[in-house]
């Protein structure tokens, strides 16, 4: 089962929920927030392997006649032909390979360019992976694709997603069985929750909400969930001690009496997932 934890904005507790959840159920943790991966701060994995992630970019050779077929084809405007040379703006290239296909003179071939790395490791009984995008690169999507390659379907995989609802999030949650939407009980929180809920709906992925930093008497997220018919998977009360542990890079689930919070969340996840499966058979 693949569970993605996402949120419409940063700071709602994606990493807090995913690292504590995975350390409770012990399986696979993948940090897809390749621009700023921080799960390692809490899981403190022993890194055992590393791999470079490369993308393909075009390069022209002496066969180029300057016909500019590739330049007009490229919808990202990553190519220009000036004087006697094809210029490639690699930061705009999406590695689609289309320019190579449309070249009628066999003058283009693809070369590789590194955009970041993936590190593999182990944290107690949790398998750990994260991707790190090299500075100056515009898109982490190819790293996320590589991170999620060859996943063991029998394991419980927790994906810690990038914030927001852009391409990197879509790439992360694509094959998920369930999305956990982390939300704060504020108006701003609801606005951002609605953004990611629309995304999971659009992509037809079952979703449930975890209300983080919940405060007594505030039911704003519950009301939103009721109106949209989204299950509430968990409610983590605002607790200053949690913040202190979290700020020190410590897992709350490892503290006495706190493991239960995440065990309960996991049980609720299983229940929501089971209902979903039953629901989809009916459909």
């Amino acid at each position: 089962m693949r569970i993605s934890v996402l949120s419409g904005k940063g700071g709602t507790g994606k990493t807090f929920i995913s690292t504590n959840l995975v350390s409770t159920i012990g399986n696979v943790y993948i940090d897809c927030d390749v621009e700023e991966p921080n799960g390692a701060i809490f899981l403190k994995p022993e890194i055992t392997g590393q791999k470079e992630v490369k993308v393909k970019i075009p390069q022209s050779d002496e066969n180029c006649t300057g016909c500019k077929e590739c330049v007009s084809f490229c919808r990202y405007h990553a190519l220009a032909y000036a004087k006697d040379k094809l210029l490639v703006f690699h930061e705009l290239c999406h590695s689609c390979g289309g320019c190579v296909m449309v070249c009628g003179h066999n003058a283009l071939h693809e070369t590789e360019r590194r955009i970041g790395i993936i590190e593999y490791g182990k944290s107690q009984n949790t398998e750990f992976r994260h991707g790190i995008l090299d500075s100056g690169n515009p898109s982490g999507v190819p790293i996320i694709k590589e991170l999620l390659r060859d996943m063991d379907k029998d394991k419980i995989i927790v994906l810690d997603c990038p914030p927001g609802s852009s391409c990197t999030v879509m790439e992360s949650i694509k094959d998920s069985d369930l999305c956990i939407l982390a939300a704060e009980p504020t108006l701003f929180g609801i606005h951002n929750l609605n953004m990611v809920y629309r995304l999971t709906n659009l992509m037809d992925i079952p979703a449930g909400v975890i209300i983080n930093k919940a405060v007594e008497g505030n039911t704003i997220v519950e009301e939103y969930c009721r109106s949209k018919n989204i299950p509430v998977i968990g409610k983590i009360p605002y607790n200053r001690q949690f913040d202190i542990w979290n700020s020190n890079g410590e897992l709350v689930s490892q503290k006495q009496g706190c493991r239960q919070i995440f065990k309960q969340i996991y049980e609720n996840i299983l229940e929501v997932a089971a209902n979903e499966t039953a629901g989809s058979t009916k459909r």
């Binding site: 500019k68 330049v71 990202y76 405007h77 990553a78 190519l79 220009a80 032909y81 000036a82 004087k83 040379k85 210029l87 703006f89 705009l92 999406h94 515009p138 898109s139 999507v141 852009s166 391409c167």
Partner: protein, 121 residues
């Protein structure tokens, strides 16, 4: 010699545009005869890479000089590679700027900005 100037309207009397890559038109003026041609800038609605596409349009027009208020790094890379002379525009019409260029009253554009890069992927 052909001189390119970004403009908001299709006419030689139009004011110079405040941008390069997202300018609506490029007015290409033949400096000897003051004949001109307005080219639509296809990069106006580009998600990204507007400067590159706009620079390619200027190159393909056969212009040897560009008079512009601003220029991004990517567009400058394309134009410099093709030895286009890049001059700093001052407020005025396209015609004013071409006249000033002919009289040697314009300076070379010194400041190349890193680009706005608003197009997200």
């Amino acid at each position: 010699m052909k001189i390119a100037v970004p403009a908001a309207e299709k006419d030689i009397q139009s004011q110079v545009s405040i941008t390069f890559g997202r300018s609506l038109y490029f007015i290409i003026v033949e400096s000897d005869t003051m004949d001109f041609q307005a080219i639509e800038n296809q990069a106006v609605n580009a998600q990204g890479g507007a400067g590159i596409l706009a620079a390619q349009t200027v190159l393909d027009s056969g212009a040897e000089v560009l008079v512009t208020p601003h220029l991004g790094q990517n567009a400058a890379d394309v134009l410099k590679r093709a030895d286009i002379e890049i001059m700093q525009a001052v407020p005025g019409t396209v015609k004013d700027l071409v006249d000033m260029y002919k009289n040697g009253e314009l300076k070379a554009l010194k400041e190349i900005h890193p680009g706005y890069h608003g197009g997200h992927r």
